[in-house]
Symmetry: D2
């Protein structure tokens, strides 16, 4: 194992991870099923400062196809991808049961990892990774609990931390999926879905969960035979906040994730698609964007990304062009004239160029 | 002018604009006031495939400061930036009255431009640009009507185009700002703000505006002396859709932009912060995300971008780490145990590593 | 004129209108089409302190049928109903063109009238009634602008009057109906529907309307041939508040009436079915009921009315009975036991009695 | 016991309860604290077909004051009020511990009772009443679970009964009060508040509750010392629907009662103040009023009640008068003129009469 470690050290010296921050991070995606492909697309076309350099999957044909799509290397053995000197960092999106081995190898290789949840499928194996990373003396492993990057969860956490509404008393959560893949078991509602809510509780309250109880009422007729769906989960945190989770994964339609905080002086819901909705002495309601950056920031991001993509592809424009600018100018000039005269003004653009 | 043209031709051959699509687009931002700085930040740290290489502003001190912040070249003369052979494309965010000259120069130089709205401040000058681009034989100029990249406007446009609700009869629009900068004139409500609504109308209906009328009721007491604020604008499109716009730029708080389509068989509102809300024979309401990608796509994007940034900065992790993965695994394992036993199960994480 | 006046004086002496407030008011409904029948039902079974004593309609068969349904007198000539000494007051729900004659007769007879809108179909005839009532020296005629009794309009009016949001700048109104009856003319959109909005504007602002303009964009294909539907109405009030009304009476579904006030420091919408929704510096939102009376007041009213009706009909109970009381008591007792023990408690009701 | 029974028989023969349905029901209210006074006001001024004839309370001074306010008899002994031959029926709003005796007496007297919840404070005593009523051979006792008369609960029940969304899996309930009166005990959260939710569950599902469990997380700091507030209640119905209730009675503000049904093919929320909000394959949303009766029915009821009250009080009008009718007619006539000419038309009302 000494060789890879050495390699890594040299390597990190030249990669920006402790090296030149201007050179892009060379990332390999391990596991290119639905989730892994999504991450590959993200790294290849959206994320600034990274370069997708390889994909790897035990399914060799899939690996080759995805590699061809993105014009990157196919590495058939994920362990080889971890060891590869041209790979600076790894996104792991393989099935959960493979995570332990792959993450431990990456730690050994000193390479940063973004590992899809769950970290591993059992507390013992996760604990082993915790200890391995601690022994390495560096922070190398991030877990893909992506809700922590969602604006609503971040705002709710900040609100709890501010103490403005007092101590959290309840978190009422619901997690609903349209359908489950084949072979989804009753345990997987917990391991695959509620795991997100567990992290949410820890993230929002800053406390550990100290007890859990799961109730399984009668199943929906839309669940596959033998699957206990829905379930109802009750958790308690260190300070006594009570958490309930409705987990229901065969609703037949849509994806709904909701959290309601009930605190001493008010309650707040997120996941309604409308930002934080607060109920307090001031009434119910939400906030209004301060300015156009808040309202249209994502549109600006998309505009510029698509313009850059269009220019690089030799198209020049991917959006409103000069005729649009001209037509708007003509209408506005007529508007100014109407403002002065109080009359209706006809707009004539002339022939389309 | 032949030299720059020659340069550009060579240049575009090597830049991806007709050249290698793998090399990043080198962009200069002209005008680094509030909007230009925002674009500079976007190009430097978020957009994939572009490289911010220079900033330029008639305010030399500001140019230097912004250039230093992003570690790029300061070019004090915007025209020099356009001609610079190390610059592939331009984002123009200078004041509107300078746009005509700068955009014409860029067209002459054959360099793609993303020009903030308005294209120019008068129809005559905009028309001149339309003709210059047509004469160049290439599409080079995109105008910054960013609402076309907002998901709600895109969905509303698709809905209109589908014909599902019949012919558009009305568009009721409101555009409200908290305050205006000093020296904001009554005409600027039209030229600076309503110009967005004009483009929205053209984008949504696919029709030109053929007539306009502006009413100015009594002004709000919060408007600067002499400013006619609010105003009420009525426009007619080619096929007779009636558009009304409340434009109110000193509401004292917030930013609110709203559009309601009223068509033959239903109405749809956007800008409520909750996606499209439709009123039709089926009742009122909106849609539910299909899956987690729709609901949490932006969170995934942010997660990976921040992880890449953290790794390049030598931090390794910027988000949930292995302890978080371990704690979640432990709670879920206890949950599975409870599902089987029906009993409350205590979770013990052991000492924090 | 002396005779009827004398009669009225005697009469009012014995009727509660200046007489015994404990005796019920004897009301006749003139015109028993859809609206008149609705008022008859209301007076017969819901309103306290009134007694429906007669109905009258030029359609004799309809008069007889409705009279039989409510067990009251049929009076075939509405003028006879006005003169009838057993009738204390009148609800007029006949077609608008008959209102002038009937209301003038009622004033002459000194009998109070609740007259459905419009008061009359032309300003000249309405003015005649204004003068006749003034000459009578008493207030006798109320007009059926029922929106003034809607909680949302009342709250919005109080909010405007409080001055909290500053001067009203705009009222944006929409009035939408599913379909129109046969022979509905373009003028009737104004006379039959917008008339409500005119009263709303006057009620909310406390000002008269000083100018009006009506625009008719292209009609919906669902409108009967020749009907200009929708229309767009712009009104100005004395102090300069600008009012716009979308009037659209063949939407093919539903009934939607909405008003948005835009004032100097905030805006408020009503008609969303959710009370007042305010946008102001505090964000957007509404109020929360203070107590159960506010939330469930109408349910209590219905409960008691239905119980009284059931008891009078010899049924004794029309709602939850003793078994419901017993079952609730048993579950709550088990709940108290669980609160003390922390355990799940089984509830056994025994055999149903 | 024979005497009262005899009296009652004669009596009911003349009262409409088996007697003349035209004569009003003579009602006494027992207990005139907050709730009883509210019922007295309702019976005296709003409910049609009833007459408040007496009030009775163990607090003699309060009885006299309330009797004077409504101009009815004060009967200091509630049992005397039950026996009184001038009293046809009773509303019982005394404290819960007195209900058993009073209701049993009323059953014995053969007089109909509307008894505020709880029927009694223990299952044994409630069961005694069930048996007494059964033995009487008549339905005489209605329990004040007023939510069954709320439109939203009624609509939700109808939706469940229709089977459209499949079998009910969960009912998520929340019941929140601003504050509790002095001496409110931990058990009273169950007996006084959750009792409503128990009835709601039984009403909505048509099933009995078969098991219950109550969890008490840490109390809010706003609760009086020793009060376990909030609590979390879990109930199971006969067919396995799982019910959870957040009961929280010291939120410091407002009154919030909410129920969410989660069924096999969709979920529905009530108590948001916006009617039923449904989440299903069609998206989220609610219904639109069909017509003006649905939207403004309550306004019509209020209009006519207030007009009747005003006329009986000698005021003639309590709402819009003839000037309002005239002004509306004048504006509408101008509108018709504008519709024809397309021009702005000035409205001149002349001098106010």
């Amino acid at each position: 194992m000494s060789a890879p470690t050495t390699t890594t050290t040299e390597h990190s010296a030249r990669q920006g991870y402790g090296g030149d921050p201007r050179s892009p991070l060379r990332v390999a995606v391990l596991g290119v099923g639905m989730m892994g492909q999504d991450h590959a697309r993200r790294l290849a076309g959206l994320v600034n400062g990274a370069e997708l350099v390889a994909v790897s999957d035990v399914d060799a044909a899939r690996t080759d196809a995805v590699a061809a799509e993105f014009g990157v290397r196919a590495i058939h053995d994920p362990k080889a991808a971890i060891a590869d000197p041209e790979v600076d960092a790894l996104v792991i999106a393989t099935p959960g049961f493979t995570h332990e081995d792959l993450v431990l190898l990456a730690i050994e290789a000193g390479k940063p990892v973004l590992c899809e949840k769950p970290l591993t499928t059992a507390p013992e194996t996760s604990r082993r990774i915790v200890e391995a990373e601690a022994a390495s003396g560096r922070r190398l492993v991030q877990v893909g609990f992506m809700r922590r990057f969602d604006a609503e969860y971040q705002q709710l956490r900040a609100l709890i931390a501010s103490g403005e509404l007092g101590r959290p008393l309840f978190l009422h959560c619901a997690h609903r999926n349209a359908t489950t893949p084949p072979n989804f078991s009753s345990e997987m509602l917990m391991l695959d879905s509620v795991v997100h809510e567990v992290d949410v509780v820890r993230y929002l309250t800053g406390e550990e969960v100290v007890a859990i109880r799961v109730l399984a009422p009668g199943s929906t007729s839309h669940a596959p035979e033998g699957l206990k769906d829905p379930q109802f989960v009750i958790m308690e945190t260190e300070s006594g906040t009570l958490v309930d989770v409705e987990i229901f994964v065969n609703t037949t339609f849509g994806y709904e994730v909701r959290t309601e905080l009930v605190a001493e002086r008010g309650s707040v819901q997120i996941g309604l698609g409308v930002g934080l909705v607060r109920h307090s002495a001031a009434g119910w309601g939400g906030s209004i964007p301060r300015d156009f950056k808040e309202r249209f920031g994502a549109a600006y991001d998309t505009e510029v990304q698509r313009w850059v993509d269009a220019v690089r592809a030799g198209l020049g424009v991917d959006g409103p062009g000069v005729w649009d600018g001209y037509a708007a100018a003509a209408v506005c000039a007529a508007g100014v004239q109407s403002l002065r005269s109080g009359e209706r003004v006809v707009v004539d653009l002339g022939a389309r160029v």
